[in-house]
Subunit: 214 residues, 2 copies
């Protein structure tokens, strides 16, 4: 009897300590290896060696190394949001400020983590997906689910805004001698606010209807 393992559960909702340990080790291994080599140059064998885990075990948890990277990025960014207690209270659109700042900080610290050899690779695209998903999730929690059919849905607004934020931050990152994060947030925020205001604020605390910028 074999009963091949498949555990699609999110990292944070795993009880079995063996699973937590293995994933921790693998993510840690990727993290440290990327400080030396480019992502493309890291093989699954390298990963499992560094993690002192059997290679076959890797495939019990991730379909490939891209999935591992995705988990690492998404988890890391999610944790940063949690540590900073970042919420999106839809009452004032400028509440998006800490989200943008978090994105700046996270990407700024995690782009230098890999040397430079990111030539090939669907490496960057993966980061994109992970970050935009996380931002979208936060935004969506603070946006009223509109029952009205006219205008964009809450999901549409959240997705559009999250992608816009990521794009803006990415552009900022690309500039060789960039302004500090706090400064650029002031530039980015006005671009994002109108998107978020396309949907009415939640009526839970709607004392004043949609305070503009802030």
């Amino acid at each position: 009897m074999v009963t091949r393992l498949f555990v699609p559960l999110s990292d944070c909702e795993v009880r079995d300590p063996r699973i937590r340990r293995t994933r921790q080790l693998l993510q840690g291994a990727l993290r440290t290896l990327m400080q030396t080599k480019g992502f493309d140059e890291i093989s699954v064998q390298d990963l499992t060696d560094a993690a002192t885990v059997n290679r076959a075990t890797f495939y019990d948890h991730y379909t490939d190394k891209f999935a591992l990277l995705d988990a690492l990025i998404a988890g890391g960014f999610h944790q940063m949001l949690h540590e900073r207690s970042v919420r999106y209270d839809g009452s004032c659109a400028s509440a998006a400020r800490p989200i943008i700042l978090a994105a700046c900080d996270y990407l700024a610290t995690h782009q230098s983590s890999c040397p430079e050899s990111t030539q090939k690779s669907a490496f960057e695209p993966l980061i994109e997906a992970a970050i935009t998903h996380a931002i979208r999730r936060v935004l969506l929690s603070g946006i009223a689910k509109t029952t009205v059919t006219s205008g964009p849905s809450a999901e549409m607004v959240a997705t559009t805004a999250s992608w816009a934020i990521y794009g803006a931050v990415k552009e900022w990152l690309k500039t060789p001698d960039r302004a500090p994060a706090e400064e650029i947030v002031a530039v980015i925020l006005p671009l994002i606010v109108p998107i978020l205001q396309a949907v009415p604020p939640p009526k839970s605390n709607a004392a004043a209807p949609a305070l503009p910028v802030g």
Copy 2:
């Protein structure tokens, strides 16, 4: 003497017909194979077999099959924009309408092209990058390069808008029974226009300063 080949030139600016032929064959092979199998299930061998090209030759042109996909998508979308004569005349922000529509049409036709087996894969992320780059390029050509340092740069606006557009279209695509493209463009456009208006229109034809929507 070996003089290993490396041809990083863009497809459209290649003179040698041998190179054009090979890339055409490879892109055509990927296109047709994706109508049957999922991208993940296609090996480089499959590709080169279908293209009647030696496997080693593949690596003379693309670092991996992801790079081939990228070229296919980017080229296809770029061509669609060209066929529709899509320009972005920055004088009126609603000029972004045909760009959004093109993105809708392109993604709508090209998501169904692969069966469904896109489980793993950095497949979608690659499309993202290709489309946003193309949109950014079009937008940037119609945005005045601001010499003023206050406010967002032209690049920042173009990038933010292009990512916002892609995100919005992606969200639309995800909905099971979606409205026709023309309809959703009317919803998306108001989300995008404020971004583009964050930068002054080019003074070439600035009769009226920034006509709002249109």
